[in-house]
Amino acid sequence: MSTIAIVDYGMCNLDSVARAVEKFGGTPLVTDQKKEIENAAGIILPGVGSFADAMQELHRRSLSALLQNKAKEGIPFLGICLGMQLMASTGYEGGETAGLNIIPGKVIRFIADDSQTRIPHVGWNEVAQITASPIFTNLTDNTDFYFVHSYHFQCADEFVLARTPYCGNFISVIGSGSAFGVQFHPEKSLKNGAKIITNFLALC
């Protein structure tokens, strides 16, 4: 079984991600140790919290350059929620902050497009697949995932794998090679989330 490093940078609970990986056949290793991340067959970067604080925590553990390099080398990489956002070049939560720059883009706050639109975007919403990707194997198009966030990713079309109909149809899945980012929480999205985790593990 492949060891999947779940990067622990002190920002959130990693149990649910670790349990999901284990359930679908991977060996989760929750770690902030460079050596262990270096040797893993795949890397998951989860996260809850603000962009600036998260980057500071990654820098403090000297993990930013390592994560950038591993993703660029082609080690399967999955960013979840804030973890996806950290893959950007720049984030604007907690002040303008340089991200991991795995996928060029920026992370900005939602601006409500009408008075009925509430921010944060909380709850189940559809993921409309734009580009075919192994991360979507066996997954029905326009099916629901669980979201909870106030910021969203903006990048060039070539990196957009899926969008979600809220606040101007935001980008909910990004990808470049074997690096993926999902704005929703697969570990909290029941059966559909399980398919995303399974598909990611199949690449590792």
């Binding site: 609970n13 649910s16 919290g49 907690g94 909380v122 909870v148 106030s150 109909p165 059966k191």
Partner: protein, 252 residues
């Protein structure tokens, strides 16, 4: 389209789940772990778990118990009760809460909501507001599981905590709690018109029509309910099927 969420509320007291009327007359309704496993199996949208005696007993949340419960929860989980400081929130997130509900401390510890939102992000900070309709029909916030009146209206308090960075409001009518006579639609509507963060209606749901009213009339983003699931045969799925027939977007 973003779906309206139907959220079972689990109230925890003396190591088991309870349900009362008007925040009183508690009846035991089963074990927490079993309930969470059943709701996981039924794939509900989300769960709210509130330890209703923690603040009254001046103790912290029971992190070990919540850790065990969260392990069985494959859907989003909000945890509240006894949350007094940043460290409580941090520890709840670490044991598996996806969102943390702050009630009494949101009022009594100025700065807590804004510090928590700054550190953990607004999206995981819910402020839980319990209110009563007083004899002169004014609305008043209560803290400490509904035992202490606070000199502020839920509308004003909602506006305040939104400004401090709360990501969601859980709005519970103490008068309607457990009565199954419908939500306090007027208060829900006033709060949803005041804030632009999501509002979860709570207290009073007796049937699917009550929940429809909270969404269509009250403009709530989600409806929390307990008695309806503990004491009637209705399931979250049946309620969502009813809502879909009325044109409300739900996840089936």
């Amino acid at each position: 389209m973003l779906k309206v969420r139907i959220i079972p509320t689990l109230l925890y007291k003396n190591y088991g789940l309870v349900k009362g009327i008007g925040f009183d007359s508690w009846r035991r309704v089963g074990a927490a772990l079993q309930s969470i496993m059943v709701y996981s199996l039924r794939e509900v949208d989300e769960l709210i778990f509130l330890d209703i005696t923690a603040t009254l007993e001046k103790r912290s949340p029971d992190f070990d118990t919540i850790d065990e419960l969260a392990d069985e929860c494959f859907m989003p989980l909000t945890v509240g009760g006894g949350v007094q400081c940043l460290d409580d929130i941090y520890r709840l997130l670490m044991v598996g809460a996806d969102k943390v509900a702050i009630n009494s401390a949101a009022l009594l510890s100025p700065g807590l909501v804004s510090e928590a939102a700054g550190r953990f992000g607004s999206q995981c900070i819910i402020v839980s507001i319990d209110f009563k309709r007083e004899k002169n029909d004014t609305l008043q916030v209560y803290t400490h599981a509904g035992t202490k009146a606070a000199d502020i209206s839920p509308i004003e308090f909602a506006r305040q905590v939104e400004g401090e960075g709360a990501g969601e409001i859980l709005l519970t009518s103490i008068d309607r709690d457990g009565t199954m006579t419908g939500y306090d639609l007027d208060c829900i509507k006033q709060v949803t018109e005041t804030v632009s963060i999501p509002v979860i209606a709570s207290g009073g749901a007796g049937n699917a029509q009550d929940i429809f009213a909270a969404i269509s009339h009250g403009k709530a983003s989600a409806a929390a309910a307990a008695s309806i699931f503990h004491f009637t045969e209705q399931t979250p799925m049946e309620i969502k099927q009813y809502l879909r027939k009325q044109g409300i977007p739900v996840r089936l």
